[in-house]
């Protein structure tokens, strides 16, 4: 990376000596300026304003220190949302990573995998609104999923008295959310695992196999160490995707869903509608703080990988 920078470094020094080149230097920044101005106006400055607002009282703008934060941290809805979001992450991330890794390892053994990969990626192209319609018919108390289950039960176990589960209004709600999350994101993560696996020298694996290493040994000593970098990256991206999956949750279950799937985003959205901006400011700061840490870890990790 360092040596790549060098030619430019020389160039810049030269630019400082000659007036003509420093004009060129300024002209170069014109490429960035329009975009950067927009990012400042629509993202960074209003965000800083929200940070400021999280420390002041909404009506009269007086500084109240951490009072807003205390109010939010003691809010029952906030605690529920934190608990649910944490549970969603704890269940969703390993499931997504596991399933997509298995699929990626399997896909690697298939030479004609284009079509399969297309099928796995297809959900990325399906607008949420379209999927929600299907999902409603599937998971309704009298929906298709319960129909299939009751059919299977009566055929195999002879049970005829199966009462359909009302998934979205019971503890099953989280399962529905998890399934839709997995449905949407598995293909995405499979691509990332495959990218990680493609860096793996196949010959090493082949050699180990010829030398008599069994599948588990090959996994333990060759594949897994090689993938350790990908594990981290894909884990962090999975966390970020969990937060981005709110759209489907909201569309299928509304603003006040079953209490197990009431997430931090619901809270933000509902406070927004109620114009409770000081609480919202606090939650925005807290949430972005956590996500910032995730992002920084991710970035640092990718930077380190670059030098290796």
């Amino acid at each position: 990376m360092k040596c790549r920078n060098n030619p430019n470094g020389i160039h810049r020094n030269r630019g400082k000596r000659h007036g003509r080149n420093s004009i060129a230097e300024n002209r170069r920044l014109l490429f960035l300026l329009p975009g950067l101005t927009g990012v400042m106006i629509f993202y960074l400055l209003p965000f800083l304003e929200v940070v400021r607002r999280s420390f002041v009282k909404a009506g009269n703008n007086s500084f109240v220190g951490l009072d807003n934060y205390k109010a939010v941290l003691h809010n029952a809805a906030f605690r529920l949302a934190v608990r649910n979001t944490a549970l969603y992450i704890v269940l969703g991330v390993p499931l997504l990573m596991g399933i997509s890794l298995v699929l990626a390892l399997l896909l690697r053994r298939i030479t004609a995998r284009r079509k399969l990969l297309s099928a796995l990626l297809l959900p990325m192209a399906v607008p949420a609104a379209v999927m929600v319609l299907v999902l409603q018919l599937l998971v309704d108390k009298h929906g298709l999923l319960n129909g299939v289950i009751s059919e299977l039960l009566s055929r195999t176990a002879g049970m005829s008295a199966f009462y359909g589960i009302d998934y979205l209004n019971s503890d099953g709600a989280l399962a529905v959310v998890l399934c839709s999350f997995l449905w949407k994101n598995t293909g995405y993560m499979v691509i990332l695992w495959l990218a990680g696996l493609s860096a793996l020298p196949r010959d090493v694996e082949e050699a180990a196999e010829v030398d008599g290493a069994n599948r588990w040994q090959r996994w333990q000593y060759i594949t897994m160490p090689e993938l350790s970098g990908s594990f981290f990256t894909i884990g962090m991206l999975s966390v970020l995707h969990i937060f981005k999956s709110y759209r489907e949750v909201w569309m299928v279950a509304g603003s006040y869903p079953q209490e197990n799937i009431y997430f931090l985003q619901h809270l933000l959205q509902n406070w927004y509608l109620k114009l409770e901006f000081d609480q919202m400011a606090v939650l925005t700061v807290l949430l972005s703080g956590i996500l910032l840490i995730v992002c920084l870890f991710l970035q640092k990790h990718l930077e380190q990988g670059k030098e290796a």
Binding site: R12, F31, G38, F42, L106, A129
Partner: protein
């Protein structure tokens, strides 16, 4: 490709008599097919539902519609296929047209803006070294990874201040300055060797010339990836228009569907088909670019 072929040939030679390896492949194929099938299965309901007539839909969905006993079923192939829903949609639904063109307009405006504004930014990050570049780029990456809800209040405040709230600009402008396409296009540009740019500069080419003659042609993969990902995102906008657009006449198509009651399932499925077709079209054309874009986010340079 050649490399893997060679290896598989060698493998075949080495594995003569070893049945274990050859057996595992059909299993892998089977499992992957099953996963692909499970993922695509629910999507089959959309075209079939759109082609079923209301009688048939009401008959098979009665338990869901009325909450009566029993369970809904589905006919994998409609018994009495009809295009009546499409007819109604295309002839008798002015609201649909309005929202459809809103979606088209918004998507076009956002993509055009991202090209005009984001593309030069991406080039600046890739081709020039300037003070604060690393920090600034880090900021761009963080911004692209944050979910919309974090920016909900900040953007509301700025949109109010600029008098953009409840206008199409409230959705379009923040999206134009989204940092995600900048990142993707940047990664596409970094595939270009710095030496080429240096050589061009020494030969006296201006920065604009280098950008247009070298950057654009060689960075095409990244640009395509960014456009595919942006299109899928714009075509699927939900939270932004919901939060920042008040009147229904300004809404995009993605907000039209949730308003339809499940009792008009056939009609809703027909709308779904129309919503789905452009997205699938772009997906089919740009799958390579899409995969490229995904790996850009999750891998090192």
């Amino acid at each position: 490709m050649i490399h893997t072929m060679e290896i598989s040939e060698i493998k075949q030679k080495l594995n003569i008599g070893k049945r274990k390896k050859q057996k595992s492949s059909p299993l892998a194929v089977g499992l992957c097919f099953m996963a692909a099938f499970l993922i695509c299965l629910p999507l089959w309901m959309i075209p079939t539902g759109a082609l079923m007539d209301d009688m048939e839909l009401h008959q098979i969905l009665t338990p869901v519609l009325n909450g009566s006993d029993g369970y809904a079923v589905w006919h994998p192939v409609p018994f009495y296929p009809t295009v009546e829903h499409f007819y109604r949609l295309l002839i008798g639904s002015p609201a649909f047209y309005k929202l459809f063109w809103n979606s088209v307009g918004m998507t076009a405006a956002i993509l055009a803006g991202q090209i005009v504004i984001g593309l030069p930014s991406a080039w600046a990050f890739a081709a020039f070294r300037f003070r604060g570049r690393e920090v600034l780029f880090g900021l761009y990456v963080v911004l692209m990874l944050l979910p919309f809800q974090v920016m909900l209040l900040p953007q509301y405040l700025i949109l109010q201040k600029l008098d953009l709230y409840a206008t199409p600009g409230a959705v379009i402008l923040p999206a134009v300055f989204s940092t995600f396409p900048v990142f993707i296009m940047y990664r596409g540009f970094t595939q270009i060797e710095q030496e080429i740019l240096e050589a061009a500069r020494l030969d006296g080419a201006g920065e604009m010339q280098i950008f247009l003659r070298i950057g654009l042609p060689l960075g095409q993969t990244g640009i395509r990836a960014a456009m595919v990902l942006s299109f899928l995102e714009c075509w699927n906008l939900v939270e932004q228009p919901m939060a920042f657009l008040e009147e229904q006449k300004d809404w995009p198509l993605s907000l039209y569907l949730p308003q339809l009651d499940i009792s008009q399932a056939g009609f809703a499925f027909a709308v779904s088909v129309i919503v789905l077709v452009p997205a699938l079209f772009v997906f089919a054309l740009g799958q390579d670019a899409l995969e490229e874009g995904i790996t850009y986010v999750g891998t090192k340079k």
